[in-house]
Structures are given as structure tokens and as C-alpha cells.
Amino acid sequence: MSAGLLLNATICFAITISSFAFAWVLARSEDEHSEKSKPALWSLVVLWSLVGLTYLPTTVRMVAAYIGNPTLDFMMYNLAAIPFSFVSVPLVFFIMYVIVGDKRISAYTSLLFVFFGVSYLTFLYTKGVIGPEVSDFSSLFMINSDIAISIYLMGLFVIPTAMILGLLFLIFLQRMPKRLRYRTALPLVAISFVFDFMLTDMITLIDAMQLAARIFVLIGTVQAFLAYFPPLTLQEKLGIKRYSYELYESPEDIDDINGEDGEDIDV
């Protein structure tokens, strides 16, 4: 019954709201994107929706821990595990599609991660969890299956993280305009932040670490917002502002260009 649990619940709620809002804003901006980028856009919408769907029951779980209701806590943990297990699916699709550009190959690869997700859930539900262990800041469950943890680490964590890092590396190796670098690298850093800390959040057995991981997930969501909708001051500071200008052509200039001697050309 500590205020720390309420703080935890508030952070989870903030993640939920911002993830859903971001997914909605991305989905609404569909018309602004080209046909080629639409599959990647929709995979991002699904990804952020799954993040929101994971933290919605987690918010309720933290409130349940605060009011001392372990049954609701347990139910919400099991519910949150479902969207969480499939977070890597749209992520893998997104990265594969961006790199390879083939929808079919990306779909087949992400299907493999559906299999990982289902296996994780099967082991999680059949072997069960130990807990909840409610502390000042958090409510923790311990996964009672080593195989589930292995699938979780290898299938859901290591491979997608390596894929993100690979794509980031590819972008950093290439010389490109600052604006493009910002536009491509920051969403990936944000996704990596959210994804990695979500996994830390789910697996940790230390309450302070769970709270810290959730704060970082929230930071990652804000980062993703900034990646797609950078404020004007940030654009100016980073030198990525896109100026809207018209071609400059005045009658004086035309006279100068057509002048016979061309000595007093005003540039």
C-alpha cells in the first residue's frame, strides 16, 4: 500500500496512453506515406498498439497490488503476457521489410516469431509463475520455466535486438543528410529502447529495476514521438529544419544576367 506502487501504475498508464496515441497518429498519417513505406508503417502501428496493450493490464496490475488484490494482479499478469509475447513479430517484420523490401519474406520471418511467442506463452501458462511479491515500488512474478526464459531471451530478445542494431549500423555507416539520419536512426533507437526495457521489465526480480525499466520505456515512447514529430526548436538546434522557400527571381537579376558587360552582377 505504498505510493511507489501508484507511481509505478502512473508510469504504466503514461506508457499506455502515449503508445496508443502514437499508434493512432501513425495510422492517421497513412496518406502522407508512399506505397512502399506503408507495410512498414502498419507494422509500427501494430508494434505500438501491442506496447499499449501490454501496459494497459500492467497498469491495472499495479493498482491491484496497491489495493491488495493478488488474484487480479495474477490475472492481469497473464493477460499482459499475451501482447508482450508478440511484440517481436511486427518488429521483425518492420526490420526485414525495411532491409529486404519483400513483404513475403518479411511475413515468413515474422511468422517464426509468432511461433516463439506461442511457445513462450505455452510454457508460461503450463509451468505457471511464482508470486506476486509486492514491494514498495512494484509487484513481481517469477517465471517458473527455464525453457520459457530461454525462448524469451533468445527468440524474443537477442535476435530482434541484433536486427535493430544491424540496421542502425547500416545507417551510421552511410553518409547521408542530417535530416535523413535523424529521421531513420531515432525511431530505431526509440524502438530499441522500448523493446529492450520492456523485456527487462518482464524478466527482472528487482523492484527498483522494474520501475527504472518502465521509466525508460516511457522515455523511449517520447523519443519515438520526437523522431516523427520533432519540435521546431529541436529541428533548428540539430540543423534538420526543412525550409519552405520559393525560387528567387527578380527582374533586376534577369537584367543583370542579360546585361552586355555583366560586370555588376548582384549575387
Partner: protein, 120 residues
């Protein structure tokens, strides 16, 4: 060296460099193809007919002959060893290697451009 010469790819690469405002050297399709043929025959005599086998698709005999004289022979990239027969020089090999790098840069840039295009 027995590498294949893809005229269509060379045309694509030349157009890319032209779009960057580079109309000579890597942005010149005639220069590219002639140098590729000369580079392919390193250490051997390149017949003018062999060059024309590739260049006839986009240029006439006169302009290729003129290019051979005003660019390749004048700058010392190739030497005329007999009537209609040329040999690439060391300087020409350097130019040929630069051309290969320009193709690699184009491919890298194109691949990255496609990746960025797919990023929402």
C-alpha cells in the same frame, strides 16, 4: 580479367552521376563503356570493333572514335598500337579502378535510398 559489361547498368550509373551535375568521366556513358572494355582487355590489344559492339547501342562510330582520340589517347589512358587497336595504360587502369568505385558508390547509394524509401 573476364568481367561482363552490362551496358544498361553503365547507363544507369552514368545517369545517376549526371543527375548530380557530373557530366564528364563517371557521368559520361561513352567514357564508361570504352574504359570498361579497355579494362577488361588489360594486357591485350582491344579492337575498335569490340568497343563498338557495346557502344553501337547508344552512340555512332564517329563520336566513339573522337572520344578515343580526344580523351583516351590525349590523356594517356590508352595507346594506339595498330590501326583500330588500343592498349590500356597504367593511368588507364587507375581510371578503370575509379570507375569501378563509382559503380560501387552508385549501388551502395541506391540500396540505402531504397531502405530510406521504405522507412515510414
Amino acid at each position: 580479367m573476364s568481367e561482363e559489361i552490362d551496358v544498361k547498368l553503365e547507363q544507369e550509373v552514368a545517369e545517376f552521376y549526371q543527375s548530380l551535375g557530373i557530366h564528364q568521366g563517371p557521368g559520361d556513358i561513352q567514357y564508361r563503356v570504352i574504359l570498361r572494355v579497355l579494362g577488361k582487355n588489360e594486357g591485350k590489344i582491344t579492337e575498335f570493333a569490340e568497343i563498338r559492339k557495346y557502344t553501337d547501342q547508344f552512340a555512332d562510330k564517329g563520336s566513339i572514335g573522337s572520344k578515343m582520340k580526344t580523351v583516351f589517347q590525349l590523356e594517356g589512358l590508352a595507346e594506339k598500337v595498330k590501326r583500330g587497336g588500343y592498349v590500356i595504360t597504367d593511368k588507364g587502369i587507375t581510371a578503370s579502378n575509379f570507375l569501378k568505385d563509382s559503380t560501387a558508390f552508385y549501388k551502395k547509394n541506391k540500396r540505402m535510398g531504397e531502405i530510406i524509401e521504405r522507412m515510414p
